[in-house]
Symmetry: C2
Subunit: 492 residues, 2 copies
């Protein structure tokens, strides 16, 4: 099939225009046309602001098509658009300061401790043309103009966006807004280009094109690993910043259950069902203390039984979810709690699995990420929590639900060796876009130690370059003594 259409998950029906798979020649042409002009911090901030303003002004049209293509509720998508605009503006603010250039100036020093030192000056420079692979589960905030694209543009790169075929119309709408923002800045439209299609071959063509210098990806582990393999086997290997998801363990102490059993049970279920369970930060493993598990499980069972979720994003996700749920339900010593299947469109039944830790730890499928409204509740002796934490693989997040009477230091320390973000008395879903955010953990949750959310995401798409003995007039502006861009210069 060389063409495809949008599908409305709420009905399961196709609608809208036909989209065509890009050919290899078209992919190459798009990539080769990419342009990344050098801009002053002020001009780059303006570009980003113009893009976010255009997206904001197209809000209702974007949210409308996103609703039709994702089945997600209007409030969620409005929030996601707000977040998308906010994160672009956050990068605009950062780049306007020039902090991201990380300028260091070491003047010539004949008496330097290890021997005479030449004048040497360093700044971060953009990698060039980068490929961003859009995610399905955040059709706005991790798609066309999402965190990866925004950070790459902020870094000064040209972006080639591989659209996610699950929301092609939304992608076109956001792409049009981005182009308005670029035009308003008087810049070439090839700063941001679009590759459309649902043929996996397109991903290969993009990832292996010689002009691509880095890959940003949010999605499944198998696809992330394919991209890493492709990138490593290129004549010139390139970095792949892949955020591949995890099971985001939540450890619940007995004192927490004693203090707030009902609130906690609802909190766990709500977090696991948020966005129909299609968040990479979904709590997929809840570890309960055997001493107090029964009452807590009763709360979960009761609360879940009355809940349904919105349709899943596409039929592929729903099929994989249903297959996984069916298999897991057959396992020995595994209990099942279910919610309600709404029966509308691409609908599924929320399904939780309950087993003791011995069963969970010896059943690899229970420790895998399953997209959709499911989670595993594992019952363990509370004195084994630290050992369990040590046995877990890398995670985006890890959470402890406890009280002031707990002594969680050692458990926190173990979890901080596995996860990029550790949480106390919160839930992993909900990722703020801020300087201190780390969204990216140890393997297999991520391919690198970088973050894909928050301002530090920009550094994935820059590399440091030193200039030695270069005269003032030939130095890049940020490195000149006169500092025409007024960027922070660390001088020593």
């Amino acid at each position: 099939m060389n063409t495809f259409k949008s599908v409305n998950p709420a009905t399961g029906e196709e609608f809208g225009p036909q989209f065509t798979n890009a050919t290899q020649a078209e992919v190459a042409k798009i990539i080769e046309a990419a342009k990344a002009p050098v801009l002053s911090p002020a001009d780059r901030a303006t570009l980003l602001s113009n893009i976010s303003a255009a997206i904001e002004s197209d809000r209702s049209a974007i949210v409308d098509i996103a609703m039709q293509e994702s089945g997600l509720p209007e409030a969620r998508l409005n929030g996601e658009l707000t977040r998308t605009v906010f994160q672009i503006n956050t990068f605009a603010k950062l780049v306007s300061t020039g902090t991201h250039l990380d300028v260091k100036i070491d003047s010539a020093d004949a008496n330097y401790g290890m021997g005479p030192r030449p004048d040497i000056r360093k700044q971060n420079q953009p990698l060039g043309t980068v490929a961003i692979f859009a995610a399905s589960n955040f059709p706005l905030a991790f798609s066309t103009a999402g965190g990866d694209s925004a950070s790459a543009l902020a870094a000064g790169c040209a972006v080639v966006l591989k659209a996610h075929p699950s929301h092609p119309g939304t992608t076109r709408a956001v792409f049009a807004s981005i182009q308005k923002g670029i035009a308003a800045s008087g810049l070439p439209k090839e700063i941001f280009t679009l590759v459309e299609g649902n043929d996996p071959q397109i991903t290969h063509w993009v990832a292996t094109h010689p002009k691509i210098t880095a890959i940003g990806f949010t999605g499944s582990g198998p696809v992330g690993k394919i991209l890493m393999d492709l990138a490593a086997k290129r004549e010139v290997p390139i970095p792949v910043f892949a955020e591949m998801g995890s099971i985001n363990p939540v450890f619940v102490t007995s004192s927490a259950i004693i203090e707030r059993s009902e609130v906690l049970a609802k909190g766990v279920v709500d977090s696991a069902l948020l966005g129909s369970g299609q968040f990479c930060t979904k709590p997929g493993l809840i570890i309960l203390p055997s001493s107090h598990a029964d009452s807590f499980l009763a709360e979960v069972e009761k609360y879940l039984a009355a809940l349904s979720v919105g349709p899943l994003l596409n039929k592929g996700i729903a099929d994989r979810y249903s297959a996984a749920i069916t298999e897991l339900a057959k396992k020995n010593s595994v209990k099942v709690f279910t919610g309600i299947n709404s029966g509308k469109g691409i609908s599924v039944t929320p399904t939780f699995f309950i087993a003791d830790w011995k069963t969970v730890s010896s059943t690899p499928e229970l420790l895998e990420e399953h997209f959709g409204p499911t989670s595993v509740l594992a019952i363990a002796d509370e004195t084994d929590f630290e050992a369990i934490a040590r046995s877990l693989e890398g995670q985006l997040t890890a959470t402890i639900q406890g009280t002031d009477s707990d002594s969680p230091k050692e458990l926190l320390s173990i979890l901080a060796q596995r996860a990029g973000r550790v949480i106390w008395n919160g839930f992993p879903t909900g990722v703020s876009v801020t300087a201190a955010m780390q969204h990216g953990g140890q393997w297999p949750s991520s391919s690198s130690h970088t973050t894909s959310v928050g301002t530090d995401a920009i550094y994935r798409f820059m590399r440091p370059v030193s200039y030695q003995g270069v005269s003032q007039s030939n130095l890049p502006p940020a490195l000149q003594d006169s500092n025409p861009w007024k960027v922070p210069q660390q001088i020593s």
Copy 2:
């Protein structure tokens, strides 16, 4: 052969004690014993200072054995020891400030632009136990206590050092000094452990051990690529920071030759022969303007003819050098200039190759790095310099030798897209250890965009971790409001 001895390159003779290849079980035991205690910035700085002080106090014994094992002159090795101590002290100064923890604190904010924000705090944390592979060509500054080890220790990691078999006695001497420094700090000796051997299998065992979290390597491209493959195929892939060398092109403008032909010719030759041509920053490709090449080449030929170099570091390097030189000399349209073979120990003949750019660009072997006293002088139309620069692969450094009458901006910009360090009117050999240094370029000169020299090298061995909603008493010290370590905190 399960044992080996040191070889004195100045005589080609074996000497000293017998060294034994570590077995797989021994390698595992060494790695599993590694310890990386959490230290305050002040205590970590003290550890580093104690190590550097111990090395300094053992200077004469270290330099003595290094001379015997490397054939390098005493002044060079004394300078290298000074540099080794200096770079450890530079890291001590950095970590004492806590800057490297890169602490960011974002307080809870109910009115945050994208929706309520929890309290979230981020710091860099050490990766754990890292493997450092020592280089042969800097038996002190890039070996046992060299830049990779120093930056990993500074980051808070435990170091497992794979000794280079070309200087096993030097390694043991420096290792003993490191252990004195650790003992003086009252810390466990397993912060720094040693794996000895000349069996390539040992490298595999170290790189694939599950407890190893990252690899630092300085050496040849083929070995760097083996390490990258091993690291990528592990159950948990790990980053490899490999600095693999390059040909460090030097572009010479006609105005530079007109202004200072003799000085320049001597400078180029001296830089290429420094350390017997065994620097990863050796200028291995000098691009000369056809309009003024003849007179310059005459200077080079005359100067080189009277020069000899010290013995190469080991027989393997000398054999590969001689084989490469013999092959290159057979190429069509390639002229050869030679110096003098000292005839002492592992000696070779300095040999330069001269050809027009068309020949060079169509002879891949002329564009490869060859360790030893050789370089390629390529003659090109000066108007083709930019096109030539665009055709080059990634480099550690790239240099322009010109005058004020040149307009090098475009050439500099092209070179800055390929190299980690661009140099104007200097030579690439000589790498200062400073905040603004970037030693690491684009592929294939390096495996990543990081630097292995200068203070930024520390960030290779740390990863950011965020703490969300964690109470003051359970936060790591650097993230607490009371800031007991007095580190810089970026608060917003």
